[in-house]
């Protein structure tokens, strides 16, 4: 009877976590130790908890800034079009 190579319980609530666990347990891809992470990798990486948190915050920040810039630019663009049509 073949034994499942999956040893630990895989959380089923996230596909991404499932892929990560399968990668780790079936293909043996190991995470680098925190000492090996230098430079900006020390603060932004997908291995340590802080690194992942910083990446999430950075992504949200970029999305918020992009949305704010788009919304600020859009009313100005509408104003310019209406003034051009009246003249």
């Amino acid at each position: 009877m073949p034994i499942s190579p999956v040893k630990t319980r895989i959380p089923l609530s996230s596909f991404g976590h499932l892929v990560t666990e399968v990668k780790k347990q079936l293909f043996g891809i190991k995470d680098p130790s925190p000492d090996q992470l230098t430079g900006w990798r020390k603060y932004f990486n997908s291995y340590t908890q802080q690194g992942r948190r910083n990446f999430v915050l950075a992504t949200y920040g970029i999305l918020v800034i992009t949305a704010a810039a788009y919304l600020m630019h859009k009313p100005n663009k509408d104003g310019k079009q209406t003034s051009a049509s009246t003249h």
Partner: protein
Amino acid sequence: MTVSLFDQFESPLFLGIPLMAIALVLPWALLPKPCSRWISGRYLTLQNWFISRFTHQIFQPISHPGYKWALLFTSLMLFLITVNMLGLLPYTYTPTTQLSVNMGFAVPLWLATVIIGMRNQPSLSLAHLLPEGTPTPLIPVLIIIETISLFIRPLALGVRLTANLTAGHLLLQLISLAAFVLLPIMTATAFLTWSLLVLLTLLEIAVAMIQAYVFVLLLSLYLQENV
């Protein structure tokens, strides 16, 4: 007079009074209360055994701070399983076929798990949105995907229960209508249809119990991530 197949899902009114309240309170009226006797009766013992097994099963992977949710999850499970099973009786109303009822359970409980996670361990809750070992080019995409999957959870919870029960009840009504109509015309086919109806009823009994369990199990998984 044509009868709409969806009439069974309409919220019943009696003299303008919504009977939904009675349907929602019915499990409380039917389930036994703990008694002060030394040895309780069969019904209460069975209920206690079920509650004990269920609580042990659900809370085994959850850490100690999550144990305070035991009462909520167990009562939710008892409520859902009772309501679902009562709805299988002919001419009864099933509150869990209403999306509003199921979303009323799903959204606050899911939101509570998210708020607890953000409040007690904000760093870990945010880190959950990026799976470990993700390649760098995929990180922004995966964060957005995980965020979308996080917000779609309550919708999936509510709609799953609603759709399963509604589809089951609709199928039961359709096949019973077919068996009834075919009885004077083609008796053998009506018998086959009736056999299918019996099997479908057994399936719906299983679905009623399983969907209640899945609802609470998924909530416990969301709690496990955040507590």
